[in-house]
Amino acid sequence: MSGSDVILDVRGVSKSFGGLKAVQDFSLSLSQGGLKGLIGPNGAGKTTVFNLLTGVYRPDAGTVRLGGANLVGLRPCAIAEAGMARTFQNIRLFGQLSVLDNVRLACHLRSSGTMTGAVLGSVFARGQERAMTERARELLRLFDLADREDEEARNLPYGDQRRLEIARALATGPAVLLLDEPAAGMNPQEKVELRQLIRRVRQEFKVTILLIEHDMGLVMDVCERIAVLDYGQVIAEGTPAEVQSNPRVVEAYLGEAPAEAGHA
């Protein structure tokens, strides 16, 4: 990994909630087009890392650089605009909006035009609307959700909701995609398909992916490199094989539960 193709560079990020040090001195770098896993026992601070990267929380210390620009202190919407998109562990779809509208909303970020144009129904606004619809349908097709576009998002089965979250995140046109436990709640068949999907997304969208996942089979299979978090600190970093044989990692997981059954 040469320094020049690093797209996301996180240095010394910390966050405490009252007395609880949820994340301590967290550093991580993602190389352009890479696919890295972020694993760790329950409560290790993985989701908090995502919240820090996307501006939901402001780090107490440290820097987050995306393509060179420091993101610390920006609003989440500005971070999304800078090219970071995410999914949520506890699914956060726009429940009463249709599947199509969930994805179209995410296209809004890259749209141009004015509210007046939209209200008056200008030629450009109509074209823009069609372009967004076309784009959203493309994404839904890729995620096998095309025939459910009119359904309210909250009525989708769990696995479909997880995939819709990924489609929605991609619609913002991100450079870096953060996936928070995309396989949680999926059945074995869906999990197998998810592996393919993640690989495909990475290729077709040229995005860099950071993946939180408890399903070790999936993580070890799709990720090139893995960082392990325990009590808010990175305790190991390396290839899947390296991480698996690292005694500190084994200890962190065994202290809680065997790695295979790490998560229900």
């Binding site: 999304a80 726009f94 909006l97 296209c107 076309e134 913002t172």
Partner: protein, 401 residues
């Protein structure tokens, strides 16, 4: 394959419809609105009694208020409780413009309207033009009312919408009361053109009657103006809802954190919704102030009025434009219908608020989304789901037999 601004723009150009079609679909509803409003005034109004006409007019104003509040409470899911404050501000601002404007231009506050606007019974309609010079003053005044309310909306919304949750409700509640008290502190209305000429303009703006109310405003409001503007309000709200901006509004209501993570500047859109909403409330206030038989007073800003509008929005379905309009009609007609109705010794019309409360409770139990939820009357999905429910209901009965 990636969404980028340049790509979207390029596809937009490629997919854009012709100018002709755009123009037709953009303007046709406006023209239809205009034609219907003219027909209502010219052809239908003479067939109505004064009582019926006043009711239809009140419904129109209520529709504007309810639909505009839907943009905030329904679309973005923020809870504004001071809509009547904007109504009053718009009413007083536009009333001051027409009243003192008339004194300056014509030397008196008599109306100079045309066929389409309100006028005293004594005026012979055959001598009138379609649109009079007074109508132009009136339209200008309505705009002033709307813009004043919108400006206040910005001042109130900017600080409070940055904060989470209930702040807006508290701040807007206070806002309505502040407006009410401020209006009560204003000076008496200046009655003659000569006097008005000696007083600086800012002083005129604060000479709007105080606790006695603002009387003498020329009564331009007619069914034509009310329903034309109601139509425009419905159209703007519905088009906003169906646009990419409307989705941004709705996404805030659905999940603010996700909305922000998808790149929606939630503060900016909440403030926009609030300002647009205040603008139309201000215009409704202008229409209200110029209505024959209305005494404009500080009470117009009071919480009771705001509460009425909130009821309309909640009953109609949070997020439904047509639902809000429908509920505006029901809530306006209800007290009229209750008038003189007795159950034993109880006069029902005194229990209007109790009936609202009951209706709300029933709604919470049986249909928490409101009458139409986020759907519109003309959405097919609304009717198919209703049909499915009815079928299930009928089927359920059959099974238990």
């Amino acid at each position: 394959m990636n969404t980028s601004a340049a790509q979207l723009r390029e596809r937009s150009r490629a997919l854009a419809p012709g100018v002709g079609l755009s123009l037709a679909r953009g303007v046709a509803p406006l023209v239809a609105c205009l034609v219907l409003a003219v027909a209502l005034q010219i052809a239908v109004r003479p067939l109505m009694g004064d009582y019926a006409a006043k009711l239809v007019l009140d419904i129109g104003v209520a529709v504007i208020l309810a639909v505009s509040l839907t943009i905030v409470n329904g679309f973005t899911g923020q809870f504004s409780m001071g809509h009547a404050g904007f109504l009053a501000v718009g009413g007083y601002a536009s009333g001051a413009v027409t009243y003192y404007g008339s004194l300056k231009v014509w030397g008196s506050a008599a109306t100079h309207g045309g066929l389409l606007s309100g006028r005293p019974m004594s005026v012979d309609p055959s001598t009138l033009p379609l649109i009079g010079s007074g109508d132009l003053l009136f339209v200008g005044a309505l705009l002033v009312g709307g813009l004043t309310a919108a400006a206040l909306g910005l001042i109130v919304g900017l600080p409070s919408l940055r904060l989470r949750g209930d702040y807006l409700a508290i701040v807007t509640l206070g806002f309505g009361e502040i407006v009410r008290v401020c209006i009560q502190q204003t000076g008496p209305v200046i009655r003659t053109a000569a006097e008005a000429a000696q007083v600086p303009a800012w002083k005129l703006a604060t000479s709007v009657g105080g606790a006695l109310g603002f009387t003498g405003i020329p009564k331009y409001t007619s069914l034509f103006w009310v329903w034309l503007i109601a139509g425009i309000t419905i159209m703007v709200a519905y088009r906003l809802k169906r646009s990419t901006y409307g989705r941004a509004f709705l996404s805030i209501r659905e999940d603010e954190i996700a909305s922000e993570a998808m790149g929606v500047n939630t503060t900016r859109y909440k403030v926009w919704a609030f300002v647009i909403s205040a603008f139309f409330a201000g215009i409704a206030g202008g229409l209200f102030a110029h209505t024959l038989g209305v005494g404009l007073s500080a009470e117009a800003a009071g919480f009771l009025k705001s509460f009425d509008i909130i009821i309309m929005v909640v009953l109609g379905g949070l997020g439904s434009v047509s639902g809000a309009a429908l509920a505006a009609m029901v809530v306006t007609l209800l007290p009229e219908w209750l008038r003189g109705k007795h159950v034993g010794p109880v006069d029902l019309s005194q229990y209007r608020l109790v009936i609202y409360a009951l209706a709300l409770i029933l709604m919470m139990i049986f249909r928490p989304k409101g009458l139409l939820g986020v759907a519109e009357l003309w959405d097919r999905s609304l009717w198919t789901s209703l049909a499915a429910r009815l079928k299930r209901l009928a089927g359920g009965k059959g099974g238990s037999r």
